[in-house]
Symmetry: C2
Subunit: 346 residues, 2 copies
């Protein structure tokens, strides 16, 4: 397996570790995925509220929010360093609550910040630097995260055959992009179709340029085209990330993932979801909270109105794909049946 | 049944006869559906080439192109009025070819212009005004068209029940909008969901404002949301227009219609397509030519880029829904099985 530096060098600009988010001189810098690929800029955040707003305003997404939120906690710790432990605890708890509330669907963010709080409170109890303790925990976790990406990407690449047409949705992040890079290294010729993923266009803006940067053929389509492209025999596999996979095999991911899974199933095309982490507090579909975002966003495309302002709209940000439409869940333990997750991870 | 004037008054602005296209003082005025609903403007065309370009550039769509093309033929006739019959014939044939080539998928346009040519050549042979003969033919056909709309809308309304949530796609035009108006007159409460229909946003720009103008609740969603909205139990019926229905029951319509039909079938939701006309020269799926439009258009939304210019895109403008996903075809003879069309119309 390539080491972490080699992995980082294989990745396109957007996914390189320093470009997701970094901390420098007490300030958090978050790679601005709203402006990419038209500009390569960072949003500067000086406190937790600015980080929370950046997450809410979709400055980052996918694997970005937990890193940004953790760096927000680092800032919170720095800002109360040396204060009375009660004050530090209160400030950290308030920061955690604010940051967790940015993404109600992605419960993994909440679990990560729970772990972070333990590290922070332990450092506090031992009169160590809470700021440094969180930073150390985060860097170790990011290292392990890249190792995880590489393990899962190895399994992802193993599912890709020479000549495959591959559908994805939204921005399936490092595990998927790294799978493509590994498959490419193995000499497999692939062609990826990326639905643009309205309303934020992550497919067109993030996925397509990232794959293009790797030199792998990629074609942008609109979100109403996947079934027709499948019917033409151009798609052999469907891969996405997952914001959450419940222990009973329901995949929660960006809106549109579910309908692509239905149409893939209709065409006999297997659907594979990369598992990011396990949330033992989300045992089944009933435990899922689907985030509804501001419906106004559905009536805008890159800031321009798509219809009249007084017409109602609806914006569920995620959907749920049931396990019978999932051919495999790509985990660090291998490509698992969605019905085997409880056995493996409960 | 309401008369033609009453029908026209029931319709929203966009679908009123005079706002689709009209002819005045030798000039064709086409309602500009690219600018609607942000502006209510007409494109002025002084010759066939300008009409053809307007059709190609999507100034009008649905039931608009054949009217605009016919008015283009009126202009062509006017411009060679009094010339030698051979010259008139040559000019009309050239105009017909140019106009038919604007829409390779919509073979009904070609059939309409074939009929128009017969009328024109007959007038020419009888030394009557070709311009006036085409105009008379067109007005009679438009009258009959509105009667047809009302008949099919009666059947459409009969399929809608009080409390129904209805999904549509793109802009299903007069038969569908009139169905909603009739159902509303019958006291049925409906709620319509309109996918925005990228890349041209006809659902957001044309359908939603038209339904809103009728006072019927309507909600705009993006094209990746229909399956999730269905899974919430919010959709009971799916209705679309059709650019072409083959005699063996394949429905050709705006890209996305097919995947919505698959997901509707998955959820046990019936799909009904309004039949606009019959093309006896399109017996089956093999006879269908799917128009591929300039892929550059997929990378734009209201003129703004959605990705980098050097990334490839793909733009099939239509897709094909097979008969086993079609619950009924709404024709002037009633709601027919897609498997019965050859018996009824061959």
């Amino acid at each position: 397996m390539p080491n972490i530096s080699e992995i980082n060098n294989l990745l396109p600009w957007l996914l390189r570790r320093e470009n997701v988010a970094h901390y420098k001189d007490g300030v958090v810098w978050i790679g601005d995925r709203r402006k990419y690929p038209f500009a390569r800029e960072f949003v500067r955040c000086e406190d937790v509220e600015e980080v929370a707003r950046a997450i809410e305003e979709m400055v980052t997404q996918g694997g970005g929010p937990w890193v940004a939120a953790s760096l927000g906690m680092v800032m919170a710790a720095r800002q109360v360093a040396g204060k009375h432990p009660d004050e530090v605890r209160t400030a950290l708890a308030a920061a955690r609550t604010r940051l967790v509330n940015t993404r109600p669907t992605n419960t993994a963010l909440a679990r990560r910040l729970d772990d972070l709080m333990q590290v922070a409170l332990q450092a506090l109890a031992q009169e160590e630097s809470v700021e440094q303790a969180i930073l150390n925990w985060l860097e170790t976790l990011r290292d392990r995260g890249y190792e995880d990406y590489a393990i899962r990407a190895g399994y992802g690449a193993s599912l890709m055959q020479d000549g495959d047409g591959i559908l994805t949705m939204c921005f399936a992040e490092t595990a998927f992009i790294l799978s493509l890079a590994f498959a490419q290294q193995q000499g497999k010729r692939l062609h990826v179709f990326t639905p643009e993923t309205r309303p934020y266009l992550q497919g067109a803006r993030l996925t397509a340029p990232s794959i293009h940067e790797l030199g792998i053929p990629v074609t942008v389509i609109t979100d109403n085209m996947p079934a027709y492209v499948m019917s033409q025999g151009k798609i052999q596999k469907y891969f996405t990330a997952a914001d959450l996979i419940t222990l009973d095999g329901h995949v929660v991911n960006k809106i549109g993932t579910f309908q692509n899974a239905i149409t893939a199933h209709y065409h006999g095309i297997p659907y594979f979801a990369f598992m990011w982490g396990v949330d033992s507090e989300s045992p089944n579909r009933a435990a899922i909270v689907i985030e509804e975002r501001d419906a106004h966003e559905v009536k805008r495309c890159r800031g321009l109105p798509t219809t009249l302002d007084d017409i109602p709209a609806y914006y569920p940000a995620f959907d749920i794909t049931p396990p019978h439409l999932v051919a495999g869940v790509i985990t660090r333990k291998g490509v698992l049946s969605p019905y085997d997750l409880a056995n493996q991870f409960a």
